[in-house]
Structure formats: structure tokens, C-alpha cells
């Protein structure tokens, strides 16, 4: 039975969601979500379109203010803080340093017109790196880690293939060695062969760096390969949660059984 990589043991949660909810007027996008994420742990949020998983991801990453409940994050100084209590400057700083956010569409997460080196180096420059040579060297070594030919460091991502763009986006996010990465359908829109390579890469990086990750996906295979734990969402609620292989091999809720049985055999 294949297991996702090493889970760093740590008794203090990194991120805690407490009765989190979001309404748009009468419409409930997400309600009463509570869980704790520990350092090095990968959590997959699965469900169909409209199940509220993307809203949840935005709530968790403080891009959207909840209408109920709260999200707390353990800052690098070890103090657990309510994200709503952070100033905008602190929140944005967190986003640029301790967090990563991988968009489904790399064009949203990259600056398509500037070189790969500058894309990776931007976060470094944002935290005060001021030596061109060192920034470029660091960017190159990250390109290598995500299996992009370093000869392409000065090329803009618009000249890259879809899979390369997604890998570049990952490098751009990981360069500041974040502790938590949010991923929104990271393999969506890619060819199957490209997906496999990306998944393998992400799996290795996550375990090598001891990253915690929250991955939104509708693809149960992605959840199985990447995550330790799964939350199944339907109609804005978490209907089932547990170890990834438990939920996928022994689904309890009717909807989860439907999801699992809907996987097309190859």
C-alpha cells in the first residue's frame, strides 16, 4: 500500500479551522468546518464543483473573510493567531513568505511576461534580497529542483509548456521555504502523463521539505497520491473525513461511496 511521504511529527497544529462558514446572502457556500492541520501534513479537500471546496480554500488562506468561525495559524514565533486579527501587511507578508498558493491556472500565479528567474526571484526581492547574482543562482537551483532546464532561466513562462509553467509556479512558491502550501486543483488542465510527473515531483518536494499542504481537488487519484488525510465536501459541508486510504477504500457516506464508485477503471 503506497503511502504519501514522511509525516513530520509535531504536537502543535499549524492551522486550525474552527466552525468556519461563509454565506453569500441566503446562499451558504460553506458551513461549520472545523479541523486542525499539523506541520508536514497533507490534507486533500475533495468534492464536486460547487461543493464549497474552493470557497473553503479561500477562507483558509485568508483571501476571503468568513461570515462565521475563524482560522488560526501558528506563526513562525510559535504563537497561534486568528488570521482575522492580522493586519493587511502581516497577512500579505505571510502570503509571500510562510505560505505558498498554487493556482490551477499557472497564468494566475505567474508573471507571464517576465523571465522565469524573476518569477522565482520575486519573493526573495520582496524580502529584501538585493544581489542579482545570488537571486539568479537561487532561482536556477529551484528550476533544477522542479526539473526545468536552467538554460531557460531567462525565458518568460509564456514560452513554456503547461506542465513547465505549473512546475515554475511551484518553484516560485517554494523559494522562500514556506511551511504551508495551498493548492487549487494543481493538476487540472494538464495531460495525464504531465500530471503524473507533476504529482511525483510535488510528493517528493512535500516530503523533503516537510511541507504542510491543503490540496483542493476533484480527482481522487490526486488525493490518494498526495494526501495523508481527506475531507469530503458536499453542499458546503464536510460530510466525511479520515485517513485518505480509509475514506477511499472504506467510504461510509452515500455521497463518498458514489464519488469512489464513479472513478472510471483504466
Amino acid at each position: 500500500m503506497s503511502e504519501p511521504g514522511t509525516l513530520v511529527q509535531d504536537d502543535q497544529p499549524l492551522l486550525v479551522a474552527d466552525h468556519l462558514g461563509k454565506n453569500y446572502g441566503r446562499l451558504t457556500a460553506c458551513r461549520d468546518v472545523s479541523f486542525a492541520l499539523y506541520p508536514g501534513e497533507v490534507l486533500a479537500i475533495v468534492g464536486e464543483s460547487g461543493s464549497g471546496k474552493s470557497t473553503l480554500l479561500q477562507l483558509l488562506s485568508a483571501q476571503l473573510a468568513p461570515t462565521g468561525g475563524c482560522v488560526s495559524y501558528r506563526m513562525r514565533d510559535g504563537v497561534l493567531r486568528d488570521l482575522a486579527s492580522l493586519g493587511e501587511a502581516e497577512r500579505r507578508f505571510l502570503f509571500r513568505t510562510d505560505w505558498g498558493y498554487v493556482h490551477q491556472d499557472p497564468a494566475q500565479g505567474l508573471r507571464m511576461a517576465v523571465s522565469a528567474g524573476a518569477n522565482v526571484g520575486e519573493r526573495l526581492m520582496a524580502v529584501g534580497w538585493n544581489h542579482y547574482g545570488r537571486i539568479r543562482d537561487t532561482a536556477s537551483s529551484w528550476l533544477e529542483r522542479v526539473e526545468i532546464d536552467t538554460a531557460r532561466v531567462d525565458d518568460a513562462p509564456r514560452t513554456y509548456s503547461g506542465g513547465m509553467r505549473q512546475r515554475l509556479q511551484i518553484a516560485r512558491n517554494l523559494v522562500t521555504e514556506p511551511r504551508l502550501v495551498f493548492m487549487d486543483e494543481p493538476t487540472g488542465g494538464l495531460d495525464v502523463s504531465v500530471q503524473a510527473r507533476l504529482l511525483d515531483l510535488m510528493r517528493n518536494l512535500v516530503s523533503e521539505l516537510g511541507l504542510a499542504a491543503i490540496v483542493v481537488t476533484h480527482d481522487l487519484a490526486v488525493a490518494r497520491l498526495l494526501s495523508h488525510r481527506v475531507m469530503v465536501m458536499k453542499g458546503g459541508r464536510v460530510i466525511e473525513t479520515g485517513l485518505t486510504d480509509q475514506v477511499l477504500d472504506d467510504p461510509r457516506e452515500p455521497y463518498t461511496q458514489l464519488l469512489v464508485s464513479s472513478i472510471l477503471p483504466v
Binding site: 501587511a89 528567474g117 526571484g121 526581492m125 524580502v127 544581489h131 542579482y132 537571486i135 539568479r136
Partner: protein, 294 residues
Amino acid sequence: MNAPAYNFAYLDEQTKRMIRRAILKAIAIPGYQVPFASREMPMPYGWGTGGVQVTAAILGPDDVLKVIDQGSDDTTNAISIRKFFGKTAGVATTTSTTDATVIQTRHRIPEAPLHAGQVLVYQVPIPEPLRFLEPRETETRRMHALGEYGLMHVKLYEDIARFGHIATSYAYPVKVNARYVMDPSPTPKFDNPKMDNCPALQLFGAGREKRIYAIPPHTDVVSLDFEDHPFTRYRFDAPCALCGAGDSYLDEIVTDDKGGRMFVCSDTDYCEQRQQAGHRGSESAAPHKERAHV
């Protein structure tokens, strides 16, 4: 045209007050772009409507006005703005940098040192230095507010990645008073050091973009750079062909269709003052020398 038909310096007094308030705020927050209700002026956008409104708002009857365009007092744009204020305000005009109290400029800072009491008014096409990489105004404002200027270095990084050095040669970004990153308008980066700790007040007006910003006298202005690619000035490596100056910013002038060219001071006043003082360049003694080659 009948001068009395216009209020002094064209704009009505309420408008001038509004602009002065914006200017005062801009001076209070060096480098910060203050929005203002830019008016329609009797000239097209891009001809200096921002600078003209700032000048109109600060001009008094005793002022002496100089207007330059790319350093020159005698180009169409400079002449028409000078005449505009001559007619609508009746102020004295000059081409002398030293004698002027208000200097409106497009794309240059005069070579002669400015002194206390002078005001330099810049015409600005695009006031936002971050616009190159961030098209959203809401986002650039937030970046200024939070002092998030990593993006500015991305632009410089790109220059080095593409050209091997920082190729940005004009509108070179500066940090004002160790706080706001500012676009110095499309002046050549040769002029950037003149902005630092300058005894004159520097005002920037962008008419189409409706922004005013300022550098108060004696303010720190630092050009952005990398440790391993420090800021450098650039000028053509030649003396002025007319006055022999070796320290002024030069324009390249094509003299024929056979590759003939000469380099002359872009600041016409500076060049003429030097010639009057007896300085000579390679072309000044024999003004028709190139004809001899034919």
C-alpha cells in the same frame, strides 16, 4: 487673444486652491501620488497638461518663468507653454536657469545647479512606477501603502537578465525619503542624482492620470539598484560639439544621410552660457564644416 478675458494664469481661483491643496499634501508626504481633479486644458494630453496646471496654481505676478522641453527652451512645446503663461498671467519669462523662479520641464533637469527658492515643475505622462508589472491601480496603491517594492526590483532584474546590465535609461525609479518609490518622469537617469538633496522644490504633475507628487527641498532621493549592479549614470562619451562641455547630458544630432552626427548639450541655456563665456567645441568655430566633406 485677449488676456483680460482669462483669470490670472488661466485657471479659476477655486481650481488653483484645489491644486495647491494637493501640492501641499504632496510636499507633506514626499513621493506619494496625490489624486487631484485635473482640468481640461487648452492643449492635448501629453503636451504637459499636468505640469501646466501645477505651474498655473503656484505662479504669482512676480515670478519669472522658464519652460524647457528635453532641455531646450526653443522647441514648439516649450515656446507655446511659455507664451501661454505670458498671455494669461503676464509674467516675465526667461531662458536662464539661474534667473527663473519657476521652471516647467519635460524630460530634463537643467545642468546649472538649482538654488533655494526655485520650483521645478515636471510634466509626467505615467506617474505610477509599478505600472509596468502591475496593471491594477488598487493593487499598486496597496503596494505603496505597505511599502511592498519587490516588484520594482523585478523590473530591474529583467533588464539585467535581458541586456546584461540595467538598461532602463530614463524614468529610472527612485526611493524618496526612504519611503515611497517614485517615477521621476521620463528624465534620463543621468539626471537622477540631481534630484537628491536638491535645494529647489520639485513638483510633478500628471494631467491625464490626475496625480501630483513632490520632492521637498533637501530630501534624500536614491536610485534603486542591485549590490552587484549598482546605479550608474550614462552619457555619450564625447564633449559637446558646440561648447566643449564634458559633463553635460548630450543629444545626438544626425547631420546628413551619410552617417554624419554630432553631440551637443541637450540643455540649450547651459550650452549658450558656456559659449558666451568663451568655451568652444569642435563644430562651433567652423559651423559649415560638414559641407566641406561633400
